[in-house]
């Protein structure tokens, strides 16, 4: 049987969801950001909804020793001290931004410095000061999602649940919001469970990881222990890469091998790609390697100081996409392997 211990988030749920069986349980520390990661449809959103009490499956759920669900005991969502950020902002369209922000605030008033999370602090953190008197309809997608995050924070939660808060946004808007989330992470001690299928968000935000596949948890632990699940985060000059391996220790220096033919280039950030490794880079030089192919020398990152990388692309792509030396590009790396020691 699962038990509730202080300073940890314990969740275990079991049930049928449509045609597939969900049987997921994990326990992670109640500090920092826990990434709940897995492919679309693996049940991670369901797990999050169960933690919030929005959905009820058989199971157990306790946060910081406080039991929210156990057997027949089930605390309804409105008495769980959570904040929830949905995929779409889900603001109340009939209320102004200010009244949206204050909807969940204790007594409906602006929380002051004596509250754990103050109104001005949230406005400042999320860059909302100029938006408070507007109507949700007049906000951009990114602004709306920031208001939704602020609204969740101002309800003074003890646990923040975020369900792919960036997935409904385009790449540019994502890049606009990620720094806010990073600041949130730096400045607030609030534990967060962050659901995503985007590894780059995990890399930027998560401290712990829960890996899900087809309704079950296949691994959980601190991000640095990721190799246990077959994926390794490798820092290189100018970016980070994910490599499949179980043969490395955190902090170890290793040589990576990337075939030039495994690197393709794009002029804009690719959307909805299955390729985990997409890095901003800059073209240093190019040489023809045969009549139809061009070998491109890249430097990772947008300054010129990053790791060098070779890409082999067709002459046709080179011309069609209008690449030139010095141009910023996005390198998609299909295969990364660790060189044997």
């Amino acid at each position: 049987m699962t038990e509730a211990s202080a300073k940890s988030i314990t969740a275990a749920f079991r049930g049928m969801l449509g045609k597939f069986a969900l049987d997921a349980s994990f326990s992670v520390p109640a500090t920092g950001v826990t990434g709940l990661f897995g492919p679309s449809g693996c049940g991670k959103t369901t797990v999050l909804r169960c933690i919030a009490g929005l959905q009820r499956l058989d199971g157990f759920c306790a946060i910081d020793g406080d039991v929210w669900q156990d057997g027949d005991a089930f605390r309804p969502p409105h008495v769980r001290p959570i904040g929830y950020v949905f995929q779409e902002a889900s603001l109340f369209p009939h209320l102004s931004v200010r009244r949206n922000l204050l909807y969940g605030a204790p007594r409906g008033k602006e929380p002051t410095q004596s509250d754990a999370i103050a109104f001005d602090e949230v406005l400042d953190l999320l860059g909302l000061t100029s938006l408070v008197e507007r109507a949700p309809q007049n906000l951009s997608g990114g602004e709306r999602q920031r208001v939704a995050i602020g609204r969740a924070l101002l309800s003074q939660p003890k646990l923040l649940l975020m369900d792919e808060p960036l997935s409904a946004l385009d790449r540019l808007t994502k890049d606009e919001i990620l720094p806010f989330l990073e600041r949130l992470h730096e400045r607030m001690s609030l534990p967060v469970i962050y659901v995503t299928h985007d590894m780059s968000e995990i890399e930027r935000l998560a401290d712990h990881l829960v890996l899900m596949r087809a309704g079950s948890v296949i691994g959980a632990g601190p991000l640095s222990a990721l190799p246990a699940y077959g994926i390794l985060t490798v820092r290189v000059d100018g970016g980070r890469l994910l490599a499949p391996s179980t043969q490395a220790r955190p902090g170890e220096r290793r040589r990576l091998r990337i075939a030039a033919s495994d690197v393709s280039l794009a002029s804009t950030p690719p959307q909805g790609s299955t390729i985990l490794n997409v890095l901003p880079a800059r073209i240093v030089s190019h040489t023809a390697s045969g009549p139809h192919e061009i070998t491109v020398v890249l430097t990772l990152g947008h300054d010129h100081a990053g790791q060098r990388l070779l890409a082999r692309i067709t002459r046709r792509s080179w011309e069609q996409l209008g690449f030139a030396d010095g141009a910023p590009v996005y390198a998609q790396v299909k295969g990364v392997s660790l060189a044997r020691k």
Partner: protein, 228 residues
């Protein structure tokens, strides 16, 4: 211009009174029904929805016939009337109100149900994650978001009650100031060859219908624009 003939205002006033009371009652009992129909996962939900929609299809005379049995001296309505010493609820204003509520219920429940369905689960879920009890969430989120549905339901319920004829004829009769409503009055005027009076009321109804439908369309347009 000649003065309006006597006997016209009483049925008009009575009709407005009946329609107003009916609409208020329908909003009160129709809202929980609409909410339940919109949110429940019960399998027999559609059976209830069908029951609510029946007055749309049933001939008013059939509805009136059963209402007469129900409201008459030997039905539960008679027993109820006995509480204040009356013999029957049929052929009374109260009886008409009950009949109108039954007759107009689909016109009020349906738009409100649609509004609740269109809103989706999300606003209520968002409210719940912001510590709002189900009751608070309903009043502060669901009800304001469904306002166009309430408006449509109220207008349709009112208008449909105003136009009621068959049911009134069956359970109301033709008692001036008590059950003689507009539609019956027009019928009565025609029967007694008072064409002038009949034409004034009939034209009034045409204008009324025009205004109602126009109002509905404007509400819908506004909703589409605001995106509620």
């Amino acid at each position: 211009m000649t003065a309006l003939p006597v006997g016209i205002w009483q049925p008009v006033r009575l009709t407005i009174e009946l329609a107003a009371i009916t609409t208020v009652i329908l909003l009160i009992i129709g809202t929980p029904i609409a909410w339940w129909l919109a949110r429940s996962k019960a399998r027999w939900k559609e059976a209830v929805a069908t029951l609510v929609a029946m007055p749309l299809v049933l001939p008013p005379t059939v509805l009136g016939f059963y209402l007469l049995l129900l409201l008459g001296p030997s039905g539960p309505g008679g027993a109820l009337a006995g509480l204040w010493g009356a013999r029957t609820l049929a052929f009374t204003f109260e009886g008409l109100v009950i009949g109108s509520v039954v007759y107009s219920i689909p016109f009020v429940v349906q738009p409100i149900r649609n509004a609740f369905v269109a809103m989706g689960e999300r606003p209520m879920e968002a409210a719940a994650t912001l510590r709002a009890s189900p009751r608070r969430a309903f009043w502060t989120v669901a009800a304001p978001l469904a306002r166009p549905g309430f408006l449509t339901g109220a207008v349709l319920g009112f208008a449909h009650t105003v136009g009621e004829f068959g049911v009134v004829l069956m359970i109301g009769g033709n008692i001036p100031g008590e059950t003689k409503v507009l539609s019956v009055a027009i019928y009565d005027f025609v029967e007694t060859s008072q064409w002038y009076e009949a034409s004034i009321l009939a034209a009034g109804m045409v204008v009324f219908a025009f205004v109602v439908i126009l109002a509905m369309m404007l509400i819908e347009k506004r909703v589409a624009r605001v995106g509620l």
